[in-house]
């Protein structure tokens, strides 16, 4: 082994010095490098320099506390994504099955005669929310779907200069049949018709938020 040590080049060992200093060389290699350093002033100086650099670079690395609120926020984000993924999977499964079924029909033309009524019913059902969700059509406004039988309410915080007629006029241009009811503490409740689409609800909320007399808009799902 001694001849191997003496024969190992300065260049080869010099390149290993950073990991000699951080203590991660294998025992064999560590011993080789150590033996070279003993007889090489350049490598001795480089080791000293690396130690100073390492001390300078790691001097302020104190223990870090985890921000629990951030972790919870991340977990909530993951929970949300999970919901979407499950829904996508179900929807993909249904339409994937339908697609391959239709594809198989093209390879057996005569089969169309027998299965056409079935396909018709399946296509009709596929547009129904019952099939798409695999459950009863319970919806929330944030889901980006038809709102079904929910009552859509918006809580408004408004200023004293509120002109009810003017506000109602601007939002009924988006969805007819909106009602605005005053409540205590300067609040108003806006009720939208059940069949308003999510896009319409969002447009109404955008209009309200841009209105100078409306300070705040909160959606309430029932």
């Amino acid at each position: 082994m001694t001849s191997r040590l003496l024969g190992s080049s300065h260049k080869e060992q010099f390149l290993n010095l950073p990991w000699y200093v951080n203590g991660t060389l294998s025992p064999d290699l560590r011993e080789q490098v150590r033996a070279h350093i003993e007889q090489c002033p350049v490598c001795q100086e480089e080791v000293a320099s690396l130690k100073r650099t390492q001390a300078a670079m790691t001097r302020n690395l104190d223990p870090v506390e985890i921000d629990e609120a951030r972790l919870e926020h991340l977990m909530a984000h993951i929970d949300q994504s999970d919901g979407k993924a499950v829904k996508r999977e179900k929807s993909t499964f249904f339409f994937g099955t339908l697609q391959s079924f239709i594809a198989s029909l093209f390879s057996h033309r005569l089969a169309w005669v027998a299965v056409a009524p079935v396909v018709l019913v399946a296509v009709l059902l596929s547009s129904s929310p019952m099939i798409e969700n695999g459950t009863a059509p319970y919806k929330t406004l944030s889901s980006g779907e038809q709102t079904g039988e929910q009552t859509i309410r918006l809580n408004l915080t408004v200023g004293e200069t509120l002109n009810r007629e003017e506000i109602l006029q601007s939002v009924t241009a988006v969805v007819p049949g909106i009602m605005l009811t005053p409540e205590a503490n300067g609040r108003h409740v806006m009720t939208l018709p059940d069949d308003a689409s999510p896009e319409q609800v969002i447009r109404v909320m955008d209009k309200l938020r841009l209105h100078p007399s409306v300070h705040d808009v909160q959606r309430v799902n029932e």
Partner: protein, 195 residues
């Protein structure tokens, strides 16, 4: 590599099964190593917190892609390397980050709490930090990971290059740091004579 001895593997396998409790435990375990690596590179706590969350979200979403070729920790730090490098390169070009050298050596939330460090050490740290800011992202990462105690083979796995490339990058990073200081500076009191 060494996956049979990997202390994180049991926990990680539960994460692959989308076990959220295991993911929380993994987050707690890796928060500090990730934070330390990224704060050295990026300097700003708010950016680092964002990147750590992004890294861990990727770990959750891509856990199934882990093939056990490296240790779990290497795989996770590798994700942090790629995201940190992106942020490093992006932020280096931002005008607001040009004054980084002024804050050189200061780690957010820690520097002011170390009154026992001598002025000399503080100055050295500032010199080193300002020198590090001149390195390109790949050289910088190798330097940081080495100083944080990663082996050459681990860094090769993290960065995704051969071991010899890691050594060469480290060599160039060291040489550039020394050029930055000039040959009379404290990092390199004896000039010349290297490879």
């Amino acid at each position: 590599m060494e996956s049979h001895m990997d202390p994180d593997l049991a926990l990680f396998e539960r994460v692959v099964q989308q076990d959220k409790a295991a993911f929380r435990a993994l987050y707690r375990k890796f928060y500090q190593p990730l934070f330390h690596f990224l704060i050295r590179m990026l300097q700003r706590q708010d950016i680092v917190e964002e990147v750590v969350d992004d890294v861990m979200l990727t770990v959750w979403n891509k856990a199934g892609d882990f093939r056990g070729r490296s240790k779990v920790s290497t795989w996770i730090i590798g994700i942090a390397y790629r995201k940190g490098l992106k942020s490093y390169n992006k932020n280096r070009r931002e005008p607001g980050m040009d004054d980084l050298a002024q804050h050189a050596g200061r780690i957010p939330g820690a520097a002011d709490q170390s009154p026992d460090h001598s002025l000399e050490q503080q100055q050295l740290a500032e010199q080193v930090q300002s020198g590090l800011e001149t390195l390109n992202g790949n050289h910088r990462c190798v330097m940081e990971l080495t100083m944080l105690g990663y082996s050459c083979a681990e860094i090769a796995d993290i960065v995704g290059c051969p071991v010899n490339t890691v050594k060469t990058r480290m060599f160039h990073a060291r040489r550039q740091l020394k050029d930055h200081f000039g040959q009379s500076e404290s990092l390199n009191p004896q000039a010349g004579g290297e490879v």
